[in-house]
Amino acid sequence: MARVELNNLEKTYGGGFKAVHGINLHIEDGEFMVLVGPSGCAKSTTLRMVAGLEEITGGEVKIGGKVVNTLPPGQRSIAMVFQNYALYPHMKVRGNLGFGLRLQGRPKAEIAAATAEVAKILEIEPLLDRLPKQLSGGQAQRVALGRALIKKPGVFLFDEPLSNLDAKLRASMRVRITDLHRKLKAGGMSTTVIYVTHDQTEAMTMGDRICVMNAGEIMQVADPKTLYNRPANLFVAGFIGSPEMNLVEGRMTQGSAPAFQLGDQSIPLTAQVTDRLTSIPQDAVLGIRPQHLRAASAADMGAVAARIAHVEFMGHEVYLHADIGASRVISVLGAAEYEALERADETVQLVADQTWLHIFDKHSGANVSLAR
């Protein structure tokens, strides 16, 4: 029913600044799609074009198979939750929830019934006769959610809905929203969600699929697991994951076997990597997640010497910041592993788990180790 298609969608502002560069994205009916990216990547602009709050200057938006480019927001079968709640300050919670239905001219009894139902789902019944200014952030966000829910829209649009909440509340709202989505879907309601956030934790935990954006372009669209394990390019590799993936610049050399040349050290690449390579770029970037960079034992091949720069104790883990030549890397070690670390003059031997090692083309940024 409410499949959303963005076809060559563009946004150019009056001054000639192009914010969105012809993106293509198809969101299936009932799917929870997260748009994520750093601030200024035009994810909000994209969402607002779907909502009809921002003029579309190129391409088209289809909702449920219908081009909606020129339809006003009220006729697009959408509901939106805003970052700062945007509750109507002069109306009580009840009035806020029922406003959309009131505009549609629905009978009072129907509005009251719908309000009661939504209030029950979101546990805001005791708040119905309060004004927005008498609500806490979490309560206000639940009311904003209710205002969207009551319209039974085809598509829910969320514009960074949790970023004004504190960390604890954010975690519980995350669960609440995903639960709600699952329940509605189970109840047979068409509930496509487009959720904009700059927080990768939200993106990873909530999305069926995630669309990573940067500078008005889509970097990769995939489910969370794929995004984490098989990033398509340098941007996604660096953006997803915490602590960040180590990205080290160097050169690929082709002797008897390909190796990654890092300053005066060389890492011979095993079949685990070479089997996956689609090309061998001259200037390359090696990517390895901190938890896949371990302390090397004597038996390990391809260990490199790293000088400890800084150590963060996280309790059960230790974040070891170390310099390999001019590059800073982070390695996540177990506390016991850290204690057992052999060090000579603050220099340790680290080795990368080549199953999870990525090679990127430095110039195009593309991941060239995704063949398998």
Binding site: G74, I78, A79, M80, A86, F99, L103, R147
Partner: protein
């Protein structure tokens, strides 16, 4: 020994605190005294006016104090009758007939214009807004004669139309400017939420923007009320028959037509004339201040 020292220290501290509290009290007393004196000086003409309106005509210039020696209501009773066939009540009614449509027209037209300027993009918007602001800088007298000729040709002389119509067409640029500034400080999210909820531009204005503009609109109405109540030149130019005179003209009337001025009547009617403005102002003071301190609105 150590015990004694700490006691002595405590005493010294207590003494210091007491002294500071006393100094603060004296300071506050002095401040209020000064403020009261200055306030009294500023209010004195008004107090004198009220006092003098209860004096006899001969006492007004004989006794400089503001308390009448023999209070009398003569000024009010005779002043209310006026020297015309009408009572002062008629003039109040005329003032009301001018003010009410003018205030309503101003509120509606200025809100519409300000909403358009603050929220929509249309061709020549900057130029048009510049023009509106430019009329703010234009001295009123410059437009008096062309305006008079225009209204004469329309056949509107000696009617209230020349007083109503310019305001109902958002002719008061100051109010448009004030509302635009106020609107700019209000985040657009609520309006966007309303549009997503299915409201069209006019519904957004009526259901969302106007309630949020409340304090500013009250200030606009209050300003317009007071300015119209006090407006002398407008009615003087356009209204010629006495039965349509508002109070501002009627007051002057009692000076013109009597041979020896009955000052106590004039003063008594002046007191009545300022009463409505005072009452309305004090009743709406809270909103009025909220409205003109528009920069302070936060989401």
């Amino acid at each position: 020994m150590a015990y004694d020292t700490s006691l002595a220290l405590q005493d010294a501290a207590a003494l210091h605190l007491r002294r500071r509290a006393r100094n603060a009290r004296i300071g506050a007393g002095l401040r209020y005294l000064l403020l009261s004196v200055v306030g009294l000086i500023m209010l004195y003409p008004l107090i004198w006016l009220v006092g003098a309106s209860f004096k006899t005509n001969s006492e007004i210039f004989a006794n400089p104090g503001f308390l009448p020696s023999k209070p009398t209501l003569d000024g009010y009773i005779n002043g209310w009758q006026t020297s015309t066939p009408y009572t002062f009540g008629r003039f109040f009614w005329n003032s009301f007939l001018i003010i009410l449509p003018k205030v309503i027209g101003t509120a509606i037209s200025c809100t519409l214009v300000a909403y358009a300027f603050a929220r929509f993009d249309f061709p020549f918007k900057k130029l048009l807004f510049g023009t509106v602001i430019a009329t703010l800088l234009l001295p009123n007298v410059v437009t008096r004669i062309p305006q008079y000729l225009l209204f004469r040709d329309l056949g509107w002389l000696d009617s209230f139309l020349p007083l109503w119509v310019p305001s109902a067409m958002a002719g008061d640029a100051f109010f448009v400017f004030m509302l635009v500034q106020f609107l700019r400080a209000i985040p657009r999210d609520m309006e966007e939420a309303a549009r997503v909820d299915g409201a069209n531009s006019l519904q957004v204005l009526i259901f969302i923007v106007v309630p949020m503009l409340g304090p500013a609109l009250i200030s606009v109405c209050l300003f317009q009320f007071m300015w119209t109540m006090n407006d002398f030149l407008g009615p003087l130019i356009y209204i010629s028959s006495v039965d349509k005179y508002p109070v501002s003209l009627a007051l002057k009337l009692s000076i013109d037509t009597t041979e020896s001025f009955e000052w106590n009547r004039i003063l008594a009617m002046s007191v009545l004339t300022i009463l409505p403005a005072l009452i309305v102002f004090f009743a709406a003071q809270k909103y009025f201040i909220e409205g003109i301190s528009a920069g302070g609105v936060k989401g």
